[in-house]
């Protein structure tokens, strides 16, 4: 994999030809001056009064709902950036208005959560709009595909939602930075909480979506729960997007498990939980969702979610703990009329942190921005102080463990979860090389 990335980049060096390529190789790292070489969409994309951000996000298909949430996060962030809103200036202190004084414009294209369409959108934004930044994803397949595009085209890319270990693991690239945590982290965070609250030596039944992400989370959960003496009663592997889970759920119902661990995401999670309830599983087994889907509680209803353990990036009641969360929730609700889900938070934070990196780099020259990211200073966020890890471009950030509230305990219509723990990211995140990350070159 790394080898091919290397080859790709050497190829580019040849293409860029005499002028640009020569400067790049002759003067490595001396690019603070005005004679920075052309790379990716630099300087074409930032030579005017505005810069363009290309957003590719699922607006149709199974992941359309979280997709729209992420998109709204982006929209709010762009609005705040252009207005120099106080909230964004808490995250990116050097921001005044716009980014390096340039107003931010954007374009949105539907990816349908299909990596091919995502790459198509990304390529178009780069060649057509000279985008300085590509962002958006709900599936890790999209994120991984766009990672590789970003590295090839030398344009920075920021995933939206991407829970696979691989995004900052074996498929990591120099040009991509991830805000949200991932499967392995979620498992590491939620497993001890479950053992603590539910007890030791329990039997678990897994419903595993049949793709890489599903299998890795399944393995991680088994591994971390083993510490509490938990065993696996059954693991039901179901195809992605299966409308009817009855045969899998029957097997789970007959397995004699104590806990039902549902690894599905998006609409699949909604469908399988609703059907699990029909089969009487939720009454007998405790449900756990190791990687929570935005709007899951709203879609399946508070009754089903009561007592459910879930790990998530952000929940709006964190506003009681973090001042930035309070401002973010208020601003978002004012603009869009509902409480933001964690997808919106991820979208907002990604753009805000990017603005911060650009401001610190004082340039749109991508290698400088990357260096600013990799410097890894502490950044204020909606979930407290966080920082990027230079070695794999993963944000070190806490994992929120929440539990569904009983309907009677809910203070408002949106008050679905109580936050059990905010597990600090440091120590939770695996070593940067645990999943074989090799970032590749910046130029």
């Amino acid at each position: 994999m790394t080898d091919s990335v290397g080859r790709v980049s050497s190829r580019r060096a040849i293409i860029q030809g005499a002028a640009a390529g020569a400067v790049a190789t002759l003067l490595p790292g001396t690019s603070r001056a005005a004679n920075e070489p052309a790379i990716g969409t630099y300087p074409a994309g930032s030579s005017g009064d505005t810069v363009f951000i290309g957003i590719t996000i699922p607006r149709t298909g199974t992941y359309a709902v979280p997709g729209e949430d992420v998109l709204k996060g982006y929209q709010l962030a762009i609005e705040h950036l252009n207005a120099g809103d106080p909230l964004i200036r808490m995250i990116s202190p050097h921001t005044s208005k716009g980014v390096l004084g340039k107003q931010v414009t954007s374009g949105v294209a539907d990816s349908g959560a299909k990596p091919n369409d995502a790459v198509q959108n990304g390529s178009r934004f780069i060649s057509q709009n000279k985008a300085v930044l590509i962002t958006g994803s709900v599936s890790s397949a999209e994120a991984v595909a766009l990672n590789k595009l970003a590295q090839r085209e030398k344009v920075i890319y920021l995933p939206g939602i991407s829970g696979s270990n691989d995004t900052t693991g074996k498929d990591c690239v120099r040009y991509s930075f991830r805000e949200c945590f991932y499967g392995q982290t979620a498992a590491a965070a939620i497993a001890p909480v479950m053992v603590k609250n539910i007890g030791k030596n329990k039997k678990a039944a897994y419903l595993v979506p049949d793709y890489t992400y599903g299998h890795t989370v399944h393995q991680s959960m088994e591994q971390f729960l083993k510490a509490g003496g938990w065993t696996t009663a059954t693991a039901q592997v179901a195809p992605l997007g299966a409308p009817d889970y009855s045969s899998y759920l029957l097997n789970i119902a007959n397995s004699g498990a104590d806990v039902f661990i549902n690894i599905n995401f998006g609409n699949d999670a909604v469908q399988s939980i609703k059907q699990a309830q029909q089969f009487g599983i939720l009454g007998k087994q405790i449900l756990s969702v190791p990687y929570n889907t935005p709007f899951l509680a709203r879609d399946v209803g508070a009754d089903l979610m009561a007592g459910v353990y879930a790990a998530t990036d952000f929940w709006w009641t964190l506003e009681d703990r973090f001042p930035l969360a309070k401002q973010f929730v208020a601003a978002f609700e004012k603009k869009f009329g509902y409480k933001p889900e964690w997808g919106a938070n991820a979208g907002y934070m990604q753009l805000a942190m990017w603005a911060d990196a650009v401001e610190r780099a004082k340039s749109f020259y991508p290698p400088d921005i990357i260096k600013a990211y990799e410097a890894g200073p502490e950044i204020q966020s909606t979930v407290g102080p966080v920082r990027f890890r230079g070695a794999d471009h993963q944000l070190i950030r806490p994992v929120i463990i929440e539990r569904g509230k009983k309907k009677a305990d809910m203070k408002s219509a949106d008050d679905y979860y109580e936050v059990l723990e905010v597990v600090p990211g440091e120590g939770l995140m695996q070593a940067p090389d645990a999943f074989g990350c090799s970032l590749g070159p910046a130029t």
């Binding site: 607006r59 149709t60 409308p243 045969s247 097997n251 119902a253 029909q278």
Partner: protein, 291 residues
Amino acid sequence: MLSWPNFFSQFFNGLALGALLALISSGLTIIYGTLGVLNLAHGAMFMLGGYAGFVAWQHTGSFALAVLAGSLFMVVVGVLIERVVIRNFYRRPHEDQILVTFGIGIVLVELVRLGFGSDTVSIQPPAWAMGVTPLGFLIYPTYRIVVLGIAAAALLVLYFVLYRTRIGMIVRAGIEDSGMVDILGINVNHVFMLVFGIGAMAAGFAGIVNAPVVALTPDAGDTILVETFVVVVIGGVGSFPGAVLGGLIAGEILSLTSMVDPSYSEVMLFAVMTLVLVLRPQGLLGQQDRA
């Protein structure tokens, strides 16, 4: 997960799945048998029926009314589509018919997405059908038992209509020999319109009945359409009994194989289809000279 209780559970579940598949497939097969049109919009009609039922249920809160209103709506939609579009395609090649219904399917799905967004919506089953029923060897969702009953009843009604009524005779005569209907001096136009309406209703009805089981999305018809194809290929295109048999077989395959390795259930379904094609290309109950 091989155990006798689980086997019986899965066998029963296969029946429930199969009955529903049989109902949807019979709509497809009746339309093809009579009109000679393969309706690729059938999956979309399944989905649209669900949404129509959902709207009715939201306004009335009554499940029965939702089923009734949704079904009627689908008859109207079916008749409209037949009148406006399909009618002009009887004399055109099969391929054109497939293409136009494929296009209609896309349009229906995207219209629903425009109207309802991509969120899932679901219908609550009637209160008496909620909860679970112990069946001795297993606990089974009450509503799914009801679905099995409804689907079986609907299939019986279809059987009665097809085999015991005048319109059914005409439809079956059309399946046997499309020239025959002309000779009998029957107004084929009206029959075709009605059949397309009934076929659309069968899909839509199944969509409503299934809506409390599987929450609706605009893309809900996609998987169903492929499964329906497999069912009719196994059973024999154009054969009503074939659709019922094929549906039950498909339901049992999906259910029973999940005991061994659930991730291969779908593939087993296709493997059986391939086997049927090799051994009996016209389908289990299909006629030799069709298609």
